[in-house]
């Protein structure tokens, strides 16, 4: 038990005169999970933000060291659970690259379509949650209505709504659902008819614009130095789309634009994500009618053994560049595996962009960084 003087002594050690130290999280409505921020305030102004992580650290990297190359893919769904399909894809690509496994075209097309659907779903959820952080509750439900269609497609084809595990080294676990193309097209029509709702409710709203414009400005040099990737870096004008720079699967065959903004503030990050959804729709439209017939999985050995050496693959998840680094000793399990998660680097920039602004701005900055805590903790 503390007595009063003890507590007073404790707080006096925490901050200087006139500073207020508050703990945001681990349970806080705006941290979307168990992120713990120790925020030092001077009145309403933020002086310093210190993230404390690890509340849901499951040591996936250590777990993967005891799983075979077929098994470790499913664990990665639990990292960034909003783009679990793309995480799985990154791991499968690594195994395919290390063992030189041929992937049939059909599998490649379906993988890309599902990746883009995942990206839209992730951005839709982010849009709703971000609007909610800023106090607008209603866009959340409108965004979820469209996201629900995607999860239904995922459920039909992959058998799960969030942690799909549909990808195996060499292709897909099973063939796509017969209704897949029809449902995706229905989704595209629905999405196109509803996307202007976000404009009315969020994008053009004068309160939203004044809350986000000029808030949390990140310069291009800082974005690179902090290792920011994905929409966060692209909003600062850093071209970093892995799909363009190091195309994997069939991204080199489709036409799409890398969305770049120059302002680097929260509104630019918002706009990048909204425009990216349209680009994803564009990619899906080009592929959905052209899925080639054929096998959905290539020939693989029963037991997968990666040759001795080091392998690195990267994919563009909804949050940025996911790198998978595997050190293999030639056995059936990896010797060391490291996930370069986009959220971890994006979080490290938070203190830089939010210090000196108001508490309300912290919500805008943190919301547009699109943090997913399991991705950061791993």
């Amino acid at each position: 038990m503390y007595n009063q003087t003890e507590i007073l002594k404790d707080t006096s050690e925490l901050g200087a005169e006139g500073e207020l130290v508050i703990n945001m999280g681990p349970q806080h409505p705006a941290t979307h999970g168990v992120l713990h921020l120790v925020v030092t305030l001077n009145g309403e102004t933020i002086k310093k933000i210190e993230p404390h992580l690890g509340y849901i650290h499951r040591s996936i990297e250590k777990m993967c060291e005891s799983l075979t190359y077929r098994q470790f893919i499913y664990v990665t769904s639990r990292m960034d659970y909003l783009s679990s399909h793309i995480n799985n894809l990154g791991c499968a690509l690594l195994v395919e690259k290390g063992m030189a496994i041929e992937v049939p075209d059909r599998a490649k097309y379906v993988r890309v379509i599902l990746s883009e659907l995942t990206r839209i779903a992730s951005h839709e959820l982010w849009l709703g949650a971000m609007a909610m952080d800023l106090g607008a509750f209603t866009p959340f439900f409108y965004a979820f209505r469209e996201r629900e269609m995607i999860t239904d497609i995922m459920e039909d084809t992959c058998g799960a709504r969030l942690t799909m595990n549909y990808i195996v080294p060499g292709g897909l676990m099973y063939d796509i659902h017969p209704d897949f193309q029809k449902k995706v097209k229905a989704f595209i029509t629905q999405f196109k008819s509803k996307v202007n709702e976000y404009e009315d409710l969020v994008t053009n709203n004068v309160i939203f614009q004044s809350r986000t414009k000029g808030v949390g400005i990140l310069s291009a040099e800082d974005a690179i130095s902090y290792g920011c990737t994905g929409p966060v870096a692209r909003a600062s004008g850093v071209s970093c789309d892995i799909r363009k720079i190091y195309p994997y699967e069939v991204y080199d065959k489709v036409e799409f634009d890398e969305v770049l903004e120059t302002a680097g503030d929260s509104f630019a990050r918002y706009m990048v994500r909204v425009k990216e959804m349209n680009q994803s729709i564009r990619i899906i439209e080009q592929l959905i009618d052209n899925i080639p017939e054929g096998d959905f999985v290539g020939k693989t050995k029963n037991v997968l053994k990666l040759p001795k050496g080091e392998f690195y693959t990267r994919v563009e998840t909804a949050r940025g560049e996911l790198g998978v680094f595997v050190v293999s000793e030639g056995g059936t399990t990896p010797h060391r595996i490291k996930f370069r998660s986009p959220g971890f680097s994006n979080l490290s920039v938070l203190n830089h962009i939010a210090a000196g602004s108001k508490i309300g701005d912290l919500m805008a900055s943190m919301g547009t960084l699109d943090l997913v805590i399991p991705d950061i903790d791993r």
């Binding site: 992580l53 290792g227 080091e310 680094f325 370069r340 490290s348 903790d377």
Partner: protein, 150 residues
């Protein structure tokens, strides 16, 4: 720049560096004492490696290896810098004044592998609780309660 040119360039900064070209990218293995000047030269010199996209450590049971993946947003060429460390006394200089992203990544390596980064501004545990004993990602880490062997 071709691999040969890079080799020449790095050799001029760190003469003791050895090279390995078997992997996807050029691997450079340098002494831990020479890491900092090499890194600083790679960042500011003609290579302009401004993007540190992966920093980690690997436990090879006999020694620890720090692995730095470097790239540049201008010419997109990647190289891998490695440095072997003593398991008992793993000390290396920080690079977080060159790339800001290294600050968090080094804190993670510090608690997971027990590598001590000198001159790091804020070397504390980031993920584990403050009184945690041991370095979980080392191969000899044992936790009879929380680790389940199948």
């Amino acid at each position: 720049m071709t691999n040969e040119e890079i080799k020449e360039y790095i050799s001029s900064i760190a003469p003791a560096a050895s090279f390995d070209e078997t992997g996807e990218w050029l691997n450079v293995i340098i002494e831990s004492t020479q890491l900092k000047p090499t890194m600083a030269a790679l960042r500011t010199g003609k290579m302009q490696m401004n993007y540190l996209f992966c920093l980690t450590c690997v436990d090879f049971k006999t020694h620890l290896t720090m692995v730095y993946h470097l790239s540049a947003t201008t010419h997109r060429q990647s190289i891998v810098i490695k440095s072997n460390l003593n398991r008992e006394q793993a000390v290396i200089e920080t690079v977080c004044d060159i790339w800001r992203t290294a600050e968090f990544l080094e804190r993670e390596v510090f608690e997971m592998f027990g590598v001590d980064f000198t001159n790091h501004p804020d070397l504390r545990k980031l993920i584990l609780e403050d009184d945690f004993k041991g370095y979980p990602l080392r191969k000899d880490f044992e936790d009879p309660i929380n680790m389940i062997k199948l």
